[in-house]
């Protein structure tokens, strides 16, 4: 990846982060998990996937399924950057006049499937991949999972089956931000060594820094040469971009005041740390 591409992705990610932060008020959103996924999604849509505003209905397009779902502000922010969604619609977040809420749904062009119930989309992605394989298609299927989501047994059931069926067009991506809701994953249901678990289930495994576009690029280029189902574990930081909430178990669902939003955007642009007093929400 050249410098120009890199700069362009960085700019896009920054814009998306700002849009996400603006959604974490007036009812709030899952800010931290959205911020950890931004760079992965930006890379995939801008550089890797055969997806454009024109081919969203084309059976030969690539598929991206957002399984953890509550990171959808990142996807919507990205859709705005890509010109698929009007920026003004993000102001409708949580309004019943629109369909932009905490989890993805198919009424927003570009969303392949609704999500929110963890552990459901790995198998849906497998079904899409099986069909493409049967029809001798070349399209790829990427399914983005949360690390906490990997607690769900249905994920592992599907990994077993995907491995048995030897699908060559299916890539699971784990947003390994180290947190699930209100706990560090390793303090609750430890996942490491995650690489070994996936290997034991028969998947090809790569592990990269999910905020480093070069590393993401290399891994996804390598993925084209690999056989069978695969996983790319992306080590990320929950809340990435906002030091005042980064990697904090108590910053899961965030609903900030307008002043806090103003300060957080300033913090994002590295002007000044925000002063956060909003109550931490531990159940949603």
């Amino acid at each position: 990846m050249n410098d120009k591409q890199q700069k362009s992705l960085e700019k896009m990610s920054l814009n998306i982060r700002e849009r996400i932060i603006k959604m974490s008020t007036d009812g709030g959103c899952f800010l931290g998990a959205s911020l950890s996924a931004v760079d992965i999604l930006t890379y995939l849509y801008a550089e890797f996937l055969n997806l454009s505003k024109e081919n969203l209905e084309d059976p030969n397009r690539d598929y991206l399924l957002l399984s953890k779902g509550h990171d959808v502000p990142a996807l919507y922010g990205l859709f705005v950057e890509l010109g698929w969604l009007e920026a003004a619609r993000l102001d409708n977040h949580l309004s019943t006049n629109d369909s932009i809420y905490w989890h993805p749904n198919r009424s927003i062009p570009g969303v392949e499937f609704h999500a929110g119930s963890l552990g459901q989309l790995p198998s849906v992605a497998l079904g899409i991949a099986l069909d493409i394989q049967m029809r001798k298609g070349q399209n790829k299927v990427v399914c983005v999972l949360g690390d906490g989501e990997l607690n769900e047994g249905s994920c592992w059931e599907t990994f077993l089956v995907a491995s048995a069926k030897k699908v060559n067009n299916l890539i699971y991506v784990v947003d390994r931000n180290q947190f699930q809701a209100n706990m560090a994953t390793e303090d609750l249901i430890p996942l490491e060594s995650l690489d070994d678990k996936f290997k034991a289930f028969g998947l090809e495994v790569q592990r990269v820094n999910g905020h480093d576009f070069d590393q993401l690029h290399n891994a996804f280029q390598i993925s084209k040469e690999l056989k069978g189902p695969q996983v790319i574990i992306c080590d990320t930081i929950r809340g990435k971009g906002l030091p005042s909430i980064e990697a904090r178990a108590d910053r899961w669902f965030c609903n900030f005041s307008k002043q806090e939003i103003f300060e957080l955007i300033s913090e994002l642009h590295q002007d000044k740390m925000a002063t956060i007093t909003a109550e931490t929400i531990v159940a949603r």
Binding site: S117, Q120, P122, S123, L126, G127, I128, L130, D131
Partner: protein, 300 residues
């Protein structure tokens, strides 16, 4: 034509049809050789099978999926409700050994709440054929629908010549002014015998093969209200949520006054064993039904 022959024919005629199973091949033993990669066995993974069926349906396929009723309707329930139901995808659930047909397996395998939970999914259509003849004549329309469906598979040989299946309609086999028996699925066979005995004893007994539980034939109920003194629902299902509930809901909502009694498994799992013994034990074979029906009719 058998279920398997019909499925083979349908799949060979329509390349979008895929046959799936969670390692339950009883109904589809010969299909792997016939369908090649369009036969997908996911192993004992009802959830993954349903999720994958949703993915296949998103790509334009019509998955006909097979698993034991209890595990299909309950282990995979949230996948059916969330991935299939919310999207309204045409995933066709073939539910094997529902109700009494799990005979000696025990309560783990008893799907006697399946009608209740499946009809609670907004886009889902629910059917229970009286026998294999009824099943095979219903399926083409069920599989052609753009909605998901749940079918209580019933492979018993027919003891009654059924009329053609009409979408959303019940089959009104006999009319009777004293009492009309409404039943579906496996219980049709014994109910038919029980009706004959009751007729011979001098009662005028109607019989309806409900077939289609959702959509439900409400016209039938309106007509029954004019023609019969009381209705008895007969089902190998818990009393809650099945046919008795469907009728109760309709009668109350529409202010129709009609005596209605349930014969069901009430609120208990049934005693497992050989099918004939099970049905006798629960007074749901022909002789048992006659006893129960006579008591209910004399109450009026």
């Amino acid at each position: 034509m058998t279920y398997e022959q019909l499925l083979e024919k349908t799949a060979l005629e329509n390349e979008n049809v895929v046959v799936m199973t969670a390692e339950n091949r009883a109904l589809v033993r010969n299909l792997p050789a016939k369908l090649g990669e369009r036969f997908i066995d996911t192993g004992i993974t009802e959830q993954t099978m349903i999720g994958a069926a949703a993915g296949l349906a998103l790509r334009g396929r019509i998955p006909v999926v097979h698993a034991l009723s209890a595990f299909l309707s309950m282990r995979a329930f949230e996948f059916i409700r969330t991935s299939v139901g919310i999207a309204g995808l045409p995933v066709k659930l073939s539910s094997f050994i529902p109700g009494f047909l799990s005979d000696g397996n025990g309560p783990t395998h008893q799907a006697i709440e399946d009608v209740s939970i499946m009809r609670g999914i907004p886009t889902m259509e629910v059917f229970a054929p009286a026998d294999e003849q009824d099943l095979v004549q219903m399926l083409p329309q069920i599989w052609a629908s753009s909605n998901p469906s749940y079918v209580r598979i019933n492979m018993r040989p027919a003891t009654y010549q059924h009329e053609a299946f009409q979408w959303g309609k019940a089959e009104w086999c006999f009319r009777g002014k004293d009492v009309t028996l409404l039943t579906y699925g496996f219980m049709f066979e014994e109910t038919l015998k029980a009706r004959q005995i009751l007729q011979e004893k001098g009662l005028e007994v109607g019989l309806v093969n409900v077939r289609s539980l959702k959509p439900f034939d409400t016209e039938l109920v309106n007509q029954l209200a004019l023609e019969t003194s009381q209705i008895i629902t007969i089902e190998d299902h818990f009393e809650v949520g099945g046919l008795f509930s469907i009728l109760s809901e309709y009668l109350i909502k529409n202010g129709i006054q009609l005596k209605l009694h349930p014969i069901s498994l009430q609120d208990k799992w049934f005693k497992p064993g050989r099918l004939e013994e099970v049905m006798a034990y629960h007074e749901m074979n022909a002789a048992g039904l006659v006893n129960q029906i006579e008591k209910l009719v004399s109450k009026k």
